[in-house]
């Protein structure tokens, strides 16, 4: 493992904001797909999962950042995993204490936060090198990005699949829910559709950007 230059990042707005979009773990980096798809069948599940993950991110990030100078690199992965598992266990109990219904809805995916690649990836790439405060801010940003992405999925799936949002009925009593949206295929389809939309916007932007540089529109 080569010694990376330990560039200490200055705390800026970007430390937080880039997790929301530029480094959005779901839509851009395509990380943490399992919980993203599995628990996004309703908005409340999605947000709870997002918050739980954010807590683990921030907690483990802070601890790893604080201990970064004491952890030898040979055992760093093992150390990170143990630390992450600790925070996940805490979240697990916390959610049981808050609401058993929510716990039942999220199922094993709370515990599976441990193997969410976002967290280990952040620990390895950021927390192990940066000071406490930037790590905390960055973790919160990534967590917020994850939560937003989950909500984007969860809200669409809940609105179409049940006709509700956060359990509130949005449409009249005669509304026909699209059951497929809360079933497994719906998860894949909705995430795929979001990515299609972003691709489309991005490519349209690129085409717009190309247009004024002298390429005639009919050149295609």
């Amino acid at each position: 493992m080569a010694e990376l230059p330990k560039h200490q990042e200055d705390l800026s707005l970007d430390t937080f904001v880039r997790g929301l979009w530029k480094e959005n773990p779901v839509f851009v980096m395509l990380l943490g797909m399992c919980p993203t798809l599995a628990v996004s069948n309703s908005a409340i599940n999605a947000i709870s999962m997002g918050l739980a993950t954010t807590f683990v991110l921030a907690g483990s990030g802070a601890l790893i950042s604080g201990l970064r100078n004491w952890i030898p690199k040979q055992v760093r992965i093992a150390s990170y995993i143990v630390i992450i598992a600790t925070f996940v266990t805490i979240v697990d109990y916390a959610i049981q204490a808050i609401s058993l219904d929510l716990y039942a809805a999220l199922g094993a995916f709370i515990q599976l936060i441990v193997v969410n690649c976002i967290i280990l990836g952040r620990a390895e790439a950021y927390a192990s090198q940066q000071r406490l405060v930037p790590t905390l801010v960055n973790s919160l940003g990534i967590g917020a990005g994850f939560t937003i992405a989950l909500f984007a999925l969860g809200s669409v799936r809940e609105i179409l699949g049940s006709g509700t949002l956060f359990g509130l009925h949005l449409f009249g009593a005669g509304f026909q829910p699209w059951v497929v949206m809360v079933l497994p295929p719906g998860g894949f389809f909705v995430l795929g559709a979001w990515l299609l939309l972003f691709n489309w916007i991005k490519q349209r932007g690129e085409r717009r950007a190309d247009a004024p540089t002298g390429v005639p529109a009919n050149a295609r």
Binding site: P72, S79, I83, T86, I90, Y93, Q96
Partner: protein
């Protein structure tokens, strides 16, 4: 092959961390982790237990209308044993109204449905020896189909007076509870299936039958315990 070997070959690190440091770190981290987990566990344990109690209680009170208190019993081969006496086994819940009268006994049953097991809580009325209400605790049936078991009034009608009479020995039901095809219910121990959701309806029938077959002999035999237990509870 050769490439792999080269990549995997240990390149003796210039500043080898002593084994002791590694162990110390891992040990330290494990210690911190253990501490945090135990703290969290201890802190949340009573809350979780309370949550669980409230959840069961709510379910029981919903399935037995009018009930305000409940007592738990363990179903054993020897009969009913009040819960909390170190006996493990399936639980049944006796529910009482404000006047301490036994309103019904909540019993659970499981049946295999279209997409997996369906767990149902039934309200068993020892007086009429029938099932008079139900609540689905857990299922994975298709929304829009299987959930008709909770919403379809025609179907729920089946579960308002479902015959569960015991035979002469008191060991089993005279007529096992069965699900029959839509529109052909002729006996009080039959469940009229939902049209189009036959497998889910079958699951309900199986759940009711297993629950009744397991629990009702013991309940009928130890009926006195249920009412008596209530009085001791009042003391």
């Amino acid at each position: 092959m050769t490439n792999d070997v080269q990549v995997e070959a240990p390149q003796a690190p210039p500043d080898a961390t002593p084994t002791f440091a590694m162990l110390r770190t891992l040990g330290g981290i494990s210690l911190i982790s253990g501490l945090l987990v135990v703290l969290a566990y201890q802190f949340t344990l009573p809350i979780i237990a309370e949550n669980q109690r409230v959840r069961t209680e709510q379910a029981v009170f919903r399935v037995v209308p009018g009930a305000v208190t409940k007592r738990d019993f363990v179903l054993t081969d020897a009969g009913l044993v009040p819960a909390g006496e170190g006996v493990q086994g399936e639980l049944i819940y006796a529910a009482y109204d404000a006047a301490d009268q036994l309103k019904g006994v909540a019993i659970t049953g499981v049946g295999n449905g279209y997409a997996g097991p369906v767990t149902v809580l039934f309200n068993y009325d020892p007086a009429c020896q029938c099932i008079v209400g139900s609540k689905i605790l857990q299922m994975t049936e298709t929304p829009g189909f299987g959930d008709k078991m909770e919403t379809d009034p025609e179907f729920l009608e089946n579960l308002k007076a479902l015959d569960a009479k015991l035979n002469a020995d008191g060991t089993a039901l005279i007529n096992p509870i069965v699900t029959v095809k839509h529109g052909t219910k002729t006996h009080p121990w039959q469940i009229d299936a939902i049209s189009g959701a036959t497998l889910s309806s079958n699951a309900m029938g199986k759940a009711a039958n297993t629950a009744a077959q397991r629990a009702t002999p013991a309940i009928q035999r130890d009926l006195a315990k249920l009412t008596a237990a209530n009085h001791t509870g009042q003391d």
